[in-house]
Symmetry: C2
Subunit: 286 residues, 2 copies
């Protein structure tokens, strides 16, 4: 493919015919593609997700809440296999019209509440249970600063760098350069912040860490896009320190495997309905 | 530039030498590039911004609050000219280590609070003044759902579609197709939501509208990237209805021109320190 002299048409038309393995999933139209209800388990919190970084954010928070002894945070985590188009069922679209994982239905109140966008789920749960998001003051603002930083930055890492470096069938120099530079800049922003603070938003562990670690922590630990050498992730020493510190938390080790369908056998749990489901898989770890 | 057979190196190196007009601003390193304090005006709220969509979000909210008679929302809006690297001053980086506009310093309390990321500023101000973000219930969750949707989606519109369609010196087919498809899908998501609801998060005007309108409203009204025909924005009729409805609000007409340095003479106000600053410019409108 050469771009020499490419002139966009007056009106964009959908000529997608490959380019990457998601080509048959992507579409300029939203909405349900087929009728199917979502399954419902026994707990008040019903999560529909996949163990990608965006999914991990929520299961890490849920496991952190359970680790505090909050039984109301018990949840059923159903698998949404995006390769099988599960995100386009009428049931899933009814919860999240944007057809992206994760989505949560909170059935604890009189009225079921649909929650979508990973960070909105973090805020909803943090406010409901009163943990990991300060209720007021500058610390609350700092947590939101970095939570929104995560949500606005990760698309450049995932939809930008990850797509062009790891997923696109043909490697293209310009987009890879553009998004590699931004990925490194983002790592550098985090590195300077973590040089001054224990956690991203300050001295307290918060939902900002839970939003950022699955993307930038995994990246720093060499678990995303096989890009550790390319981006020289070892040079961000404060990110390294923090990434390992978060990874060592038992709740993180539990949450990160939920709805995960790749990796080692001891880090894959397609669905989670009881605490023991996680115990059994983690018991397989070497 | 041909990508035929491009193989990324083992280690990414910064060879940026043009490609677009921002090439000398982009860098894989963050942090201050020179020492300079930020100016400080007379009001408790000090905004450092530029009238791009992300800047408009905040000035629209501030003008909406002032329209409600909330005098504590008075603000000084200083210009951060990103073409002149203002975002890399030690003063600006001290408020926002990510070097992106907008940034706000709230000096109303005992301790000055630094607020960055446009949506974090929206949440901070909405919670402080008790407007445009429901305090509890499903409506609060819906507002956060769509606020985070905006923040996670707009990078594909701005950093993706806008960059490759409007800013990159050479047009490249694959990235333009990728991001045009996503921009249209996002418009379609909004269109279906706005078919059912007056505003994005339901029946109440909220910070979700204020976050989404500057990007998708401007896009629908043909004021972003000159892409109205390419993306066939007229076909999203519910987005059209909503975009015009929001555009007609007096506070939106005021907020959208603050820190704006392009467009018609009656939509440009480099700095705003008093209400009359806006009146004078709007008086020039035909």
């Amino acid at each position: 493919m050469s771009d020499q002299g490419y002139v966009p048409p007056k009106v964009w038309v959908n000529n997608s015919e490959g380019g990457n393995k998601w080509a048959n999933i992507n579409s300029p139209e939203s909405g349900a593609r087929f009728e199917r209800d979502l399954p419902v388990g026994e707990h008040p919190l019903q999560l529909y997700s996949l163990g990608t970084p965006n999914g991990q954010k929520v299961t890490i928070l849920l496991e952190e809440l359970l680790a505090l002894g909050i039984k109301e945070a018990e949840y059923d985590a159903f698998l949404i296999n995006i390769g099988d188009s599960d995100q386009f069922s009428s049931g899933f679209v009814g919860v999240n019209p944007n057809s992206k994982i994760p989505a949560l239905v909170d059935r604890s109140g009189e009225q079921a509440v649909n929650v979508f966008e990973s960070a909105s789920i973090l805020v909803h749960l943090a406010e409901r249970f009163g943990h990991f998001l300060p209720a007021s003051g500058p610390e609350r603002t700092q947590t939101f600063n970095w939570l929104f930083w995560a949500q606005g930055s990760a698309p450049f890492l995932g939809g930008g760098f990850g797509h062009f470096y790891a997923y696109a069938d043909e490697k293209q120099e310009y987009p890879i350069n553009r998004f590699a530079m931004e990925a490194k800049r983002q790592l550098d922003v985090l590195d300077k912040q973590l040089a001054k603070h224990t956690y991203v938003a300050g001295e307290e562990y918060s939902i900002a860490d839970m939003a950022i670690w699955p993307w930038y922590g995994n990246l720093a630990l060499g678990k995303l896009y096989d890009a550790a050498e390319f981006l020289q992730v070892d040079s961000y020493q404060n990110v390294q320190r923090w990434a390992k510190q978060i990874a060592a938390r038992p709740a993180v080790q539990r949450g990160r495997i939920v709805n995960r369908t790749f990796g080692e056998v001891w880090e894959q749990l397609a669905e989670r309905h009881h605490s023991e489901d996680i115990d059994k898989v983690l018991a397989l770890a070497p």
